[in-house]
Symmetry: C2
Subunit: 427 residues, 2 copies
């Protein structure tokens, strides 16, 4: 993993951070590193996430899911951090047979259930509390679909949940394979645990190699100039405080599209509090050059673009053509073209004095995605220390959860206040 912050320096971009400011910031990084290391040593809430490459036992996961590892498909029923890690890993491994139900859209749920051969499908249902409304509603629907299809759902379901609650009780009652959500790890930091790894394990992927990738990034030294994760977290923080309120995560690989979604959750829920926090927005190279690049290059100077690419990927040759205007495409490869687009976009932003950071991984494979996920998590924890906020909580979503529950259930203070909406309707 290489992180290149050259195009985020004040000598190159505005906003940008000067070398001198980085040197000063590095002293704060060293202190933050001490705090993080203490949290890791004591397995403190949140910080424990950075120990997952060591504390997660891949064999235990593989053995627990063995009863369903004949499945051709895996359906992940979860939402937010209970789904995004698994989806990100599945996509990075090129496995399109791991699907996710992470929304309660009736049309979409019906379509997914009608397309899946349920007798060949394993289900992981993921909720720490066992009461997440969207997840449990979907699970009840999925369970009924199995029964209607004549498939014994108790033979196909793995629960991933906490020590108590409805899902744990269900697992106990029906003797389902059950994995524990790791203690002290918020959902958005749980990709390198049973939560993110179980679906890949069911499908036979080498989840040990994913954890090994995480381990490659887990040995952090106390300087942003030596640790890629800290370089990223510190520079993103420094740019935010200098006006880059937006962080556009733009991988150049379709297999990292879900990674950008995962990053958006990590960054938003961890850092978006107390009136602080950079807005993460998701983009995809080269596609979004024809959508977002105009604004990144010529809009307000409030956007950091994070460009991610693998150094190696299989290529696909573009056939030769005798048309003069297209001859330059012949005998190149689609991957070569994609890499050229990457370099051109990076240079185009630099030419306009807009900040970007380059993240390079060797390949999008087991170790590559493990290393990338861990690096971004450590970057986020560092940024949280620099902001001085509570990185591991998400208090602002609780009000809405209670209101939604009240609206479909027995009512409560929050749901009553929904009715007070101010209207100014134009139709």
């Amino acid at each position: 993993m290489k992180i290149d912050i050259g195009n985020a320096l004040a000598s190159e971009a505005s906003p940008g951070v000067s070398r001198e400011a980085l040197d000063r910031l590095d002293e704060r990084v060293a202190r933050a590193h001490e705090r993080i290391e203490r949290g890791r040593r004591d397995d403190e809430f949140g910080y424990a996430a950075l120990n997952l490459p060591e504390t997660t036992d891949p064999d235990e996961i593989t053995e627990t899911v063995a009863p369903v590892n004949d499945a051709a498909y895996v359906l992940v029923v979860g939402i937010g951090g209970s789904a995004l890690g698994a989806a990100t890993i599945a996509e990075a491994l090129g496995d399109s047979r791991i699907l996710t139900l992470d929304n309660v859209d009736p049309d979409h749920v019906s379509e997914v259930l009608s397309l899946l051969p349920l007798s060949e499908t394993a289900v992981t249902v993921v909720s720490r509390s066992g009461t997440t409304a969207e997840t449990l509603a979907n699970f009840l629907v999925v369970r009924e679909a199995f029964t209607e299809a004549g498939v014994d759902w108790t033979e196909r379901v793995v629960t991933i949940t906490g020590d108590s609650g409805p899902l744990r009780e269900l697992a106990d009652r029906h003797d389902l394979p059950a994995l524990a959500v790791p203690e002290g790890v918020p959902g958005r930091f749980s990709a390198l645990s049973s939560v993110g790894l179980a679906p890949a394990a069911i499908r036979g992927h080498d989840i040990g190699a994913i954890l090994d990738g995480g381990k490659r990034a887990a040995d952090c030294s106390p300087s942003l100039f030596e640790t890629p994760a800290y370089a990223y977290g510190a520079v993103a923080y420094a740019l935010d405080t200098r006006g880059a309120a937006i962080n556009a995560m733009m991988p150049y690989a379709e297999s990292l599209e879900s990674f950008a979604e995962w990053f958006a959750q990590l960054w938003s829920e961890s850092l978006g509090k107390d009136g602080l926090g950079q807005l993460p927005t998701r983009a995809l190279g080269a596609t979004d050059q024809h959508s977002q690049l105009q604004r990144y290059r010529a809009g307000p100077r409030n956007t950091l673009v994070t460009l991610v690419r693998p150094r190696e990927r299989p290529d696909l040759r573009v056939p030769e053509t005798d048309h003069d205007d297209l001859a330059y495409l012949g005998d190149t490869g689609l991957g070569e073209l994609l890499d050229a687009e990457f370099a051109a976009t990076e240079a185009s932003l630099a030419e306009a004095g807009r900040p970007s950071i380059r993240i390079e991984l060797d390949r999008v494979d087991e170790a590559g995605i493990g290393e990338l996920l861990y690096t971004m998590e450590a970057a986020c924890v560092l940024a949280g220390e620099l902001y001085g906020i509570e990185t591991f909580t998400q208090p602002a979503v609780e009000w809405g959860k209670r209101a939604a529950r009240g609206l479909i259930g027995e009512g409560n203070d929050e749901s009553e206040s929904v009715a007070e909406k101010t209207r100014l309707v134009v139709d």
Copy 2:
């Protein structure tokens, strides 16, 4: 179509716009409306897009694609505005057999081509100039895949292009069905033309009904208090100038996920210039309540959230359960739950004094998507007038296009400057 701007008023949110400021802004809306109407009357560049519901002939499209309308699948080869409109319409109509190749990722292109039954697949290849690097490279690969599969590609391909260039010459040489990209309409405004409609026409959808939906929105009166499109464009502009530099487009329907991508292109390329322009970011309800809502509600006060929902949708019943903690879910519907999440999120933002706008369409169907696309286009054109920028160009992407072409071809000034990159690498 209803647009509710009540939660964007200064009495409710910060940033917000006062009723008095809206009244003053409405005078500028009236003048902008005059300018827009003149542009429409004279079919001026860009403004002509707002005439598409009248000027697009659905029968001509349907007749032109008749030679391939037996296809079970349609593959759209295009990028940016040449793909997003078609993808948005396909998704809104629930048609998962219209696929898009809008990136030059070798793995992804290989996978799509391996999954498609090519003998039952029609291809629309879309590029005004006929030289867009990504599109033409993909088309050369697709054409070879047909040949290798023993399928005569000249029987399966429809071109959608300008009056000249390689694609036009190809169509002439092989007598392919050919549709014209409309004159004077930038790609991102071309959804309601052959560009957006041809794939749906091949699959037998009622594209006349989509255009009828557009017509419902096309009769604009000169006040933001009477025209939903102007209400949206004017309030988004007013909030941006008051600090809402970000516009989070958050539909509550999986079938509108691509719509949010389409909107992001429309908003970015049209308004992101001269140092101006709101950053559009894409979200999805209810999923992103567990990802982005924390920051929308508790991060910096720089974000407008646009909530979109259909008033009607088919529902899917959640089975009853005897578990006490889950009993409130029983006998509700997934759609009912999704609507409750919508209301809860809207109220949750209001309770925190964060601005939102509600957009309601009747249903996500042919007329609904036509009306929604047109409304957002008219909103964008109005916003462009209020910003005082050139809405219909995208000059900032040209540098990168030349650089990329230089990197894989004969070299040029831009590609040479790519090599000058400043590096500060941490690994």
